[in-house]
C-alpha cells in the first residue's frame, strides 16, 4: 500500500507491455482492465509498447476492447510492426513525401505487418509492377509463420546490394503459448537471415530504444516520471533501463522471479541492467497504490 503509493504517486504515466502483462492469449489478466480504468481516473497516462509484430495497431485497438479494456485507442499503442514501418519511412522516405523513388520493402511477415508498412507510404516487393529503377531497399523480418527457405533465399538476393537495409521488428527468440508450449519468434528467423547474408539486422523492438523515441515524439513523455511495466527481463526491463525509466516486473508472463534474482546475484555489469526496480505478482496488485 504505502510503498506502492510512493512509487506510483509521482508517476505521470506508465508504459505497458501487452502479452503476459495485460492478457495471456485470449484472456485478460484478472484485474488488469480495472487497473487501467483506475489509472485513467487518477489522471495518469497509460501507453502500450509491444514487440509483437503480428497485428496492426487497428487490430490491437479492437483486441483491447474485446478483452474488456476501455478507452484504449490505436494512437496509444506502439507495436513493433508500427514502429518498424515508421523507421523504414524515416530511412527510405526521409520521414515524409510519397513513395516514388524510395524503393520497395521485402517483408517477411503477416498481413498486420504488411499493412503497417503500406500505411507508412511504402511499397512492398512483390506487389504490383515495380517501376523501372525501383529496387528493393529494405528487407524487414517480422513474425512470419509462413517463413520458408524460398523466402530466405529471396531475402538474401536483395541483401547482396549493400544499400539494402536489413531490419527486424524484434529480437524475441520465442513466445509462450497458453498451454506452456512455445512458438519460435522473430529472433530465430532474423538469425537465419543474418547468417545467410552475413549482415547484422537493425532491430526496432525492445530492448532497443527506437520505440521509446516514437512514444516521445507523439506524446512528449518525461522518462523520470514514467514507469515501464513488463514481463520479460531481456526485453521489457532492459528497455526500461535503456530509456531511463524505472521498471516493474510482473510475474504473469515469461520471466520467473528466480531469473531476476539470478541476474541480481551475477557479477556481470550487463546482468544488473536486467534487474527490475520493483516486481508484482500481477499488475492488479498496483491498484492499491492509486488514489480512490
Amino acid at each position: 500500500g504505502a510503498g506502492l503509493r510512493e512509487v506510483l504517486g509521482p508517476a505521470q504515466g506508465l508504459l505497458f507491455d501487452c502479452d503476459g502483462v495485460l492478457w495471456a492469449g485470449e484472456r485478460a489478466v484478472p484485474g488488469a482492465p480495472e487497473l487501467l480504468e483506475r489509472l485513467r481516473r487518477s489522471g495518469k497516462a497509460a501507453l502500450f509498447v509491444s514487440n509483437n509484430s503480428r497485428r496492426s495497431v487497428a487490430e490491437l485497438e479492437r483486441r483491447f476492447s474485446r478483452l474488456g479494456f476501455r478507452g484504449v485507442r490505436a494512437e496509444h499503442v506502439f507495436s513493433s510492426a508500427l514502429c518498424s514501418a515508421l523507421f523504414l519511412r524515416q530511412r527510405l522516405l526521409g520521414g515524409g513525401g510519397n513513395g516514388s523513388g524510395a524503393g520497395r520493402v521485402f517483408v517477411l511477415g503477416g498481413e498486420g505487418l504488411r499493412g503497417e508498412v503500406r500505411d507508412a507510404g511504402l511499397r512492398l516487393a512483390g506487389e504490383g509492377e515495380p517501376a523501372p529503377g525501383e529496387p528493393v531497399r529494405a528487407v524487414l523480418v517480422g513474425y512470419d509463420d509462413q517463413f520458408t527457405f524460398a523466402k530466405l533465399a529471396q531475402a538474401c538476393g536483395y541483401l547482396r546490394d549493400p544499400q539494402c537495409l536489413l531490419v527486424a521488428t524484434d529480437p524475441d527468440p520465442w513466445h509462450p503459448l497458453s498451454d506452456g508450449q512455445r512458438t519460435p519468434g522473430t529472433g530465430s528467423l532474423t538469425a537465419a537471415v543474418e547468417t545467410a547474408s552475413g549482415r547484422k539486422a537493425l532491430v526496432v523492438g525492445k530492448p532497443n530504444t527506437y520505440m521509446f523515441d516514437c512514444i516521445v515524439e507523439r506524446f512528449g513523455v518525461d522518462p523520470s516520471r514514467t514507469l515501464m511495466v513488463g514481463d520479460r527481463l531481456e526485453t521489457d526491463i532492459l528497455f526500461g533501463k535503456n530509456c531511463g525509466l524505472a521498471t516493474i516486473l510482473t510475474l504473469t508472463g515469461v520471466s520467473r522471479l528466480e531469473e531476476a534474482q539470478a541476474y541480481m546475484a551475477s557479477d556481470s555489469a550487463a546482468a544488473k541492467d536486467l534487474v527490475p526496480n520493483y516486481y508484482v505478482d500481477s499488475i492488479a496488485d498496483l491498484i492499491p497504490g492509486l488514489d480512490e
Binding site: 509463420d145 517463413f147 527457405f149 520465442w174 508450449q181 519460435p184 519468434g185 547468417t195 545467410a196
Partner: protein
C-alpha cells in the same frame, strides 16, 4: 504429416511422436516455420534427453556468377535461437567426420593431405587432425584472406592457414607420375 489447421496454435496441438530423441538439422530447401515450430516442441519436451544435431554450419552454398543460396548453418541458427541451446555440429571443422574416415580406412595423418577451398571448415579440420592441408583457390577463398590470418597475431586464426595452396587441383597433375 498434414498440419491440423492454419496457425501455430493449431500446429502445437498435433501429437508428438513419443520415440523422437533427436532433432537433426540438415540442408532443407523445404524448411518452414511449421517445421521450426515442430523442432522446438521436440527439444522442449525432451530437454537434455533430446539431442540437437546439425550436419554443418556453412552459411552459403555458392552458385555460378557470385550468387549463392542459404546454407544449412542458417537453419541451424534458427533452431538454436528458438530453443536457446547450441547444436552439436557433425561436419567440418569438427573432427567427427575424420574419425569416421579413420575408422573405415587405414589413414596416417602424417601421410595424408586434406584438400579444400574453405578455411574455417576444410583447412581448420585438416590442421586440427594433424593432416597436411592444401587450399585450392577455385572456391570461396581468396589468397588475401589467408594472408590476413597469417599476419594476425592470433593463434586461433593461424589454425586457418593451410600448409600449401594451388590455383586449382589440376595444378597437382605435374607432380604425379604418368
Amino acid at each position: 504429416a498434414a498440419l491440423p489447421g492454419p496457425a501455430p496454435a493449431d500446429w502445437v496441438q498435433a501429437p508428438l511422436e513419443p520415440a523422437v530423441r533427436a532433432v537433426l538439422v540438415g540442408f532443407d530447401e523445404h524448411f518452414s516455420y511449421a517445421k521450426l515450430c515442430q523442432a522446438l516442441r521436440y527439444l522442449l519436451r525432451g530437454g537434455s534427453e533430446c539431442l540437437l544435431v546439425g550436419t554443418n554450419r556453412d552459411h552459403r552454398l555458392p552458385l555460378e556468377g557470385g550468387a549463392g543460396i542459404p546454407g544449412t548453418g542458417c537453419l541451424v541458427k534458427a533452431v538454436e535461437t528458438a530453443a536457446q541451446r547450441e547444436a552439436f555440429i557433425v561436419g567440418k571443422p569438427n573432427r567427427f567426420m575424420f574419425d569416421c574416415v579413420a575408422q573405415e580406412f587405414p589413414v596416417d595423418p602424417a601421410r595424408t593431405i586434406m584438400v579444400g577451398d574453405r578455411l574455417d571448415t576444410d583447412i581448420l579440420m585438416g590442421n586440427s587432425c594433424g593432416l597436411t592441408t592444401l587450399l585450392t583457390l577455385t572456391g570461396v577463398t581468396a589468397l588475401d584472406e589467408v594472408r590476413g590470418h597469417q599476419d594476425s597475431g592470433c593463434p586461433t586464426r593461424h589454425s586457418l592457414v593451410p600448409d600449401y595452396y594451388v590455383d586449382s587441383i589440376a595444378d597437382l597433375l605435374p607432380a604425379l607420375g604418368q
